[in-house]
């Protein structure tokens, strides 16, 4: 045995000397089960924030009113035109569309598919997402074509003394 290692290469009488046995049992049956149990734990923990936010919404804590924000002057937006704005925070881009004389609609314009910015096509009276040609109904925010499945979250608007104001983010009825 001892003189074998002095000859390189020594005569082989088996084919196992080159198997590295370190960590051989790292992922045996038990280790694998441990990993799976750990994964279940990770899933459980990662469900917590979703649950927390959902519970908060259920308790009505999410229903907060934001300070009214002026979007445009009524005279600056013609019927059939749209304006982009940010509401409720400056990171939430939104779009206001004047559908008729008295009717204004506003939506959060992040596409409900993969959050591309949706824009208003005046000629076709539709909101279109450039990324995968998703389309939304301007009157309701409901998806009408393409990959999006959920409606765009509406923003309640109010017209007072010559200006259009964003009041709050509507919870859409799904």
């Amino acid at each position: 045995m001892s003189d074998r290692n002095n000859r390189v290469p020594f005569d082989e009488d088996n084919y196992t000397h080159n198997i590295n046995r370190n960590n051989e049992r790292m992922l045996d049956r038990r280790g694998f089960m441990k990993t799976l149990a750990g994964a279940a734990g990770v899933f459980a923990i990662s469900s917590l924030p979703w649950g927390a936010v959902a519970a908060k919404e259920l308790l009505g804590l999410g229903e907060k009113e934001y300070p009214h924000q002026k979007i445009v002057n009524v005279k600056d937006i013609a019927i059939g035109d749209s304006v982009d704005f940010n509401f409720p925070s400056e990171h939430d881009s939104a779009i206001l569309i004047r559908l008729s004389d008295k009717r204004y609609v506003a939506y959060q314009n992040a596409c409900t598919h993969l959050r591309c910015p949706v824009y208003w096509v005046k000629e076709e009276k539709e909101m279109v997402c450039p990324c995968h040609h998703g389309k939304f109904d301007a009157g309701t925010g409901a998806p009408t074509a393409g990959p999006p499945r959920r409606p765009l979250p509406g923003i309640q608007v109010e017209v007072s003394n010559g200006g259009v104001y964003a009041v709050k983010v509507k919870r859409y009825e799904a």
């Binding site: 149990a37 899933f43 459980a44 469900s47 979703w50 959902a54 919404e57 409900t112 959920r150 799904a174």
Partner: protein, 69 residues
């Protein structure tokens, strides 16, 4: 070699359910069905103790390995 794979299969099933529930939870959240979101989240959390239980029970079961015979 005789091995017990029941535990492994059960835990794999739990992982599958975890993935399914998480998917459903996230979708229900974005649909704003918050009560349903909570249900799926709860199920997800419930699966963890079950997984631990199965692991504890199955830990020492299973294979006599070739060299241990």
């Amino acid at each position: 070699m005789k091995r017990s794979y029941v535990g492994v299969l059960l835990l794999c099933t739990i992982l599958l359910l975890n993935i399914v529930f998480t998917q459903l939870m996230v979708h229900q959240f974005y649909y704003e069905h918050y009560a349903t979101t909570l249900v799926y989240g709860g199920l997800n959390i419930l699966l963890f103790p079950i997984a631990l239980l199965i692991y504890r029970k199955e830990k020492h079961k299973g294979g006599t390995h070739g060299h241990e015979q």
